[in-house]
């Protein structure tokens, strides 16, 4: 099988103006991936499936990932120098930078005909709140049917063009998306007073509180 750079170059030649970015995987597995722009994602997917050299006819795994907004602190150090050039002190300038969060859908493609793979493709939403629509790849690979419904259910990604986009694992009236990193578990769910999960509280209530740690 060609490597991902070659696939990317062929895709760019075939679809002028398409956004195809190679995402490097720094880990030892070296499973790199292609990030596709949303506009032409479905055409590219069809091409990957039907291209005689690739024939990625089998989409094994489709899954969502939540990348919440991350806050970075950039520190710029500028040395303050006197006339002779010796450093007097270093000025530290801290700027806070927030990388916006987004949701990502990852597809692992294999070829049953040629017996090669995986080719990993990714789609990214604009943000985590209102721009969460990506084109559905269920018309290309039907194996994404339930898996995209699961991503819709647990991550809240909207798949445009999915024929039956409903919740699949949670019940229909459920509100939030439980696999998101900022999901807060409800405290009004039905539960019974067992030690399950609450063993620490129970054991703490069962014994007198330990003496407070001595503060030096």
């Amino acid at each position: 099988m060609e490597n991902l750079e070659q696939i990317r170059d062929r895709l760019l030649a075939r679809f002028p103006g398409a956004e195809v970015t190679l995402i490097n995987n720094p880990g030892p597995s070296a499973q790199h991936s292609l990030l596709l722009g949303l506009a032409q994602a479905r055409e590219i997917a069809l091409f990957l499936r039907d291209d005689p050299a690739l024939r990625l006819d089998y989409c094994s795994n489709a899954t969502g990932i939540d990348w919440p907004a991350k806050e970075f602190t950039d520190v710029v150090r500028t040395p303050v120098k006197d006339a002779a050039g010796a450093t007097l002190r270093i000025l530290e300038e801290k700027t806070k930078r927030v990388t916006p969060g987004f949701l990502e859908v990852v597809y692992h493609l294999y070829s049953m005909e040629k017996k090669h793979g995986p080719v990993v493709i990714r789609l990214r939403t604009g943000n985590r709140t209102d721009q969460v629509t990506v084109p559905s790849l269920t018309p290309v690979w039907r194996s994404c049917d339930f898996q995209e419904r699961e991503i819709f259910d647990l991550y809240g990604v909207n798949f445009e063009g999915h024929h039956d986009l409903r919740r699949i694992l949670m019940w229909d009236g459920f509100k939030d998306h439980p696999m998101r990193k900022d999901y807060v578990a409800p405290d009004d769910y039905e539960w019974e007073p067992t030690p399950h999960g609450a063993v620490l509280e129970k054991a703490k209530a069962h014994y007198p509180a330990p003496p407070p740690a001595t503060v030096p």
Binding site: N25, P26, R142, P178
Partner: protein
């Protein structure tokens, strides 16, 4: 069929006269007396749905015109649990996905983590893994065949015989790992315990006697006319649809697609073994049943080779660590051929002790995609058999 690694479909008999008669799809009748459709909810508490699975079936007379699978009753957000525990802490939870095949689930997860961390595995551990995985395949297929015939109405005899044999295998799992079903045996970089020569001898003895049981079992079932009538031509799945819908495992191969991850990926040490991949000719329920029987025979061959060749040595890589296991940032997708199909784990590490993303690609979940296509135009009684031949475990479907 030029590929020598693929068994010829001539192993499958042509449908009998009885079967061809029953295979004719029943057409719904449309006249003034038969106009209404009836919606029936089968499950979630229905013995033939293998757990808490529900099929919303729309019927015209007795003929299914629409079928919607509904699940999630056993949903416990396994993936979120995995993101909140350490890499090692997820290992016992993988036992509880497909609770009939904990050894293969363990292996798939260990393989994904080993890919993520670049962790080598000693030679003997690879052999032990193959032995345990093939034993699991035998156990799972025996369960499946037993339950399939329970669904057909042969109340309990085939299941009881299958369970009697299965018990011997899981007794061996118990004496090696300490638990019959929740084995929790694989670790990143090897296995937890080194099997003794006595244990390997016991496996060898059991495996050598297994074909005899299989012959007897086939004598009980394979030629049975009622079985042929109920399964041949029922729930046909075309190879094109099977590939398109991502069906894997024996169900895919019953449709005539010779794709086996043991051959395609050659993970572990599978390329060293001489075995063939059986494929079916018609893609019906009977082929799916036959596929399991033939796969069990191939598994016996693999087991005999592995037990003959297993080298001495350690089963755990000395550099692997149990605690404070922090793989470098990166991601990995590891998959193996489980008894039900492709079981894969997708992991993303950010360098912390917990995975940032832990995803289980469950075979039965994806294999259910085509349940409606297989059931359309069949009767309710057939839908039960078709579901039985898909081989689902709800612990894995709902996660």
């Amino acid at each position: 069929m030029t590929d020598p690694e693929i068994a010829s479909p001539s192993a499958f008999p042509e449908p009998s006269v009885l079967a061809t008669h029953s295979a004719a799809t029943v057409r719904p009748v449309h006249d003034e007396f038969h106009g209404d459709l009836l919606e029936v909810s089968m499950g979630p508490q229905h013995p033939s749905t293998h757990g808490v699975f529900r099929m919303v079936v729309t019927l015209d007379g007795e003929v299914i015109v629409k079928l919607k699978p509904v699940f999630g009753y056993l949903h416990r957000n396994h993936e979120k649990l995995g993101e909140n525990t350490t890499y090692l802490g997820s290992m016992p939870y993988t036992d509880r996905l497909d609770y009939l095949c904990s050894m293969t689930n363990n292996w798939a997860y260990a393989l994904a983590v080993e890919k993520l961390a670049g962790q080598p595995v000693p030679e003997r551990a690879e052999y032990v893994r193959v032995i345990l995985a093939e034993m699991t395949r035998l156990v799972n297929h025996m369960c499946l065949v037993g339950f399939l015939f329970n669904d057909l109405g042969t109340s309990f005899t085939p299941l009881l015989y299958a369970f009697r044999e299965r018990e011997k295998f899981i007794d061996l799992f118990e004496s090696l790992s300490g638990s019959r079903m929740m084995c929790n045996f694989q670790r990143f970089g090897g296995c937890r315990a080194n099997p003794s020569p006595e244990w390997l001898g016991a496996v060898s003895k059991l495996v050598d006697g297994f074909p005899k049981f299989l012959d007897e079992y086939e004598q009980l079932l394979t030629g049975n006319e009622i079985l042929l009538a109920r399964t041949q031509g029922v729930g046909c799945l075309s190879p094109e649809l099977a590939v398109q819908a991502g069906i894997t495992g024996p169900m895919l191969r019953a449709s005539g697609v010779g794709y086996d991850i043991r051959k395609a990926d050659g993970y572990g040490i599978y390329p060293r073994f001489d075995f063939r991949v059986p494929i079916g000719a018609h893609g019906d329920t009977y082929d799916r049943y036959m596929m399991r029987i033939l796969e069990m025979r191939e598994s016996v061959k693999i087991l005999q080779q592995a037990l003959r060749d297993i080298p001495a040595g350690p089963v755990m890589d000395p550099k692997s660590r149990l605690r404070n296991f922090r793989p470098k940032p990166g991601e990995a997708y590891g998959r193996i051929e489980g008894p039900k199909g492709e079981i894969g784990f997708y992991l993303i590490s950010d360098g912390s002790p917990n995975p940032l993303r832990y995803r289980v690609r469950a075979p039965s979940f994806v294999n259910l995609t085509v349940i409606e296509d297989m059931c359309l135009g069949r009767t309710v009684a057939d839908s039960v058999v078709i579901l039985g031949s898909v081989d689902i475990v709800l612990g894995e479907v709902d996660r």
